[in-house]
């Protein structure tokens, strides 16, 4: 059989190992996303408070996260924490902290704008019906907020998945690293392995993000109609 180089992917457990590697980044993305959703709701509500000090602090937090590249934040936590807190933070933990920090800011801003978009009369009608503040939030405002939030939250999830690919640069063994190991191991038997391995990693990311971005677009459309 002619050697195309493609079979390196299916030699031994190579493909399985790549999938496992991908799962490492996905796990980080999923955990960070769940934390971000919870914290983001609180942040969004804080941002809508009348208190100017709270709003200013939130604003600064948001701007810092918006301006700094995620990789810089990763470096800060990964190298900074090791030195100052005397903690040997694993790359994975550092990544979860950073992506939660980032995701919370983004999510908070989404929640804030979703809350603003809800017309005032919704609150007022709630109160007029005799609901208290908590009840208004829970049964009137939140359900509408969530409906408005869904498309952009799903979009944030795809961004999160894409951005977690950076963790290889702080030494987490994930899909790219596993790919490199496979390439190195087959350097002599299969010199074109790099093409196939990175090609497959590229397609794997696409296969995961594409459905989510379709879902996000569909939700968006439904919301507009």
């Amino acid at each position: 059989m002619q050697n195309t180089g493609l079979e390196v992917l299916f030699k031994g457990t190579n493909f399985l190992r790549l999938c496992e590697g991908l799962w490492v980044t996905l796990r980080i993305a999923v955990i960070a996303m769940m934390l971000s959703i919870v914290l983001g709701f609180f942040l969004g509500m804080l941002m809508n408070l009348q208190n100017k000090g709270v709003r200013a602090v939130c604003r600064v937090y948001l701007e810092i996260v918006r301006i700094m590249p995620q990789l810089v934040l990763l470096f800060l936590v990964y190298f900074g924490a090791a030195k100052h807190l005397n903690m040997n933070l694993s790359g994975e933990k550092a990544a979860i902290i950073v992506f939660t920090f980032w995701g919370t800011a983004e999510m908070g801003d989404l929640v804030r704008s979703a809350l603003i978009a809800i017309p005032k009369h919704q609150y007022e009608s709630g109160y007029a019906l005799g609901l208290n503040k908590w009840q208004v939030y829970r049964s009137v405002i939140l359900p509408q907020t969530i409906r408005r939030l869904l498309p952009s939250a799903v979009n944030l999830l795809t961004r999160m998945i894409k951005t977690t690919s950076l963790v290889v640069l702080i030494g987490v063994v994930e899909v790219v690293k596993v790919g490199k190991q496979i390439i190195d191991a087959s350097r002599y038997t299969n010199p074109t392995a790099a093409l196939w391995v990175y090609g497959v990693v590229f397609l794997m990311y696409f296969a995961i993000c594409f459905p989510f971005s379709r879902i996000s677009a569909a939700l968006e459309k439904r919301l507009v109609n």
Binding site: Q70, V72, G80, L195, Y198, Y205, C209
Partner: protein, 223 residues
């Protein structure tokens, strides 16, 4: 913090920042070009090319820049296509940015309401006049906010270039931490470098956006 050390290493950071900016400027310029071409193809509904553009946009928007770079830099040479680090970085950034810009321009064009076009036609304007005088100005002002966000996004994305062996800010920082173990100083200068690059651009974008949205709604109306 060791100020002397920071002064000594400053030239390294200046060089790295220049490199980052250089890559970013070229990448963004080409992205705008690709974005314009792609959005025009979609707007004019040119067959076949249109489907290709859609494929490209989906592929590029749903994969991380880092993986695109790895494929370009380590994968493609096996097919005999070899790029230098610099061209790899610019090609990667353009591949990513082109689709983001295309989407920005497209949504700008789409958001011009049909009424505007009909009104133009009923005034006796030709189609090309409607496009030039009515659609384009509004489309441009519509797409400015997303365009600005994209510029900042693309500059931030340049931080992964160290993966293809470019001596950018991240690369220098990692080097200094590794060699001298001056973590604080290196990280501090890294943050400052990005702040100096990105803060003015971010402020400028806010100002431009404000000004241009103003034109869109006309003076006096508070929308």
């Amino acid at each position: 913090m060791d100020v002397n050390f920071m002064q000594e290493q400053l030239p390294l950071y200046v060089e790295a920042a220049k490199l980052t900016l250089h890559m970013a400027v070229w990448g963004i310029l080409f992205s705008i070009l690709i974005g314009l071409i792609c959005s025009m193809i979609r707007y004019l509904k040119i067959p076949i090319l249109r489907q290709l553009v859609v494929c490209y946009i989906e592929l590029s928007r749903n994969t991380p820049l880092l993986i695109q770079l790895f494929f370009l830099y380590f994968g493609l040479p096996k097919l005999g296509i070899v790029f230098s680090s610099e061209s790899c970085a610019i090609i990667g950034l353009t591949f990513l940015g082109g689709s983001y810009m295309a989407e920005a321009f497209r949504s700008g064009l789409d958001n011009v309401s049909g009424i505007q076009i009909e009104a133009g036609l009923s005034l006796g304007m030709r189609k090309s006049q409607v496009f030039r005088k009515i659609i384009l100005p509004q489309a441009v002002s519509n797409s400015i906010p997303v365009f600005c966000a994209n510029v900042i996004f693309l500059i931030k994305e340049t931080s992964v270039f160290s993966a293809v062996a470019l001596a950018d800010l991240m690369f220098v920082t990692k080097d200094l931490i590794g060699i001298y173990y001056k973590t604080d100083e290196a990280l501090f200068m890294l943050v400052m470098a990005y702040l100096i690059i990105l803060l003015p651009i971010s402020v400028l974008c806010t100002l431009v956006e404000r000004r241009i949205r103003y034109a869109e709604y006309g003076t006096g109306s508070a929308v």
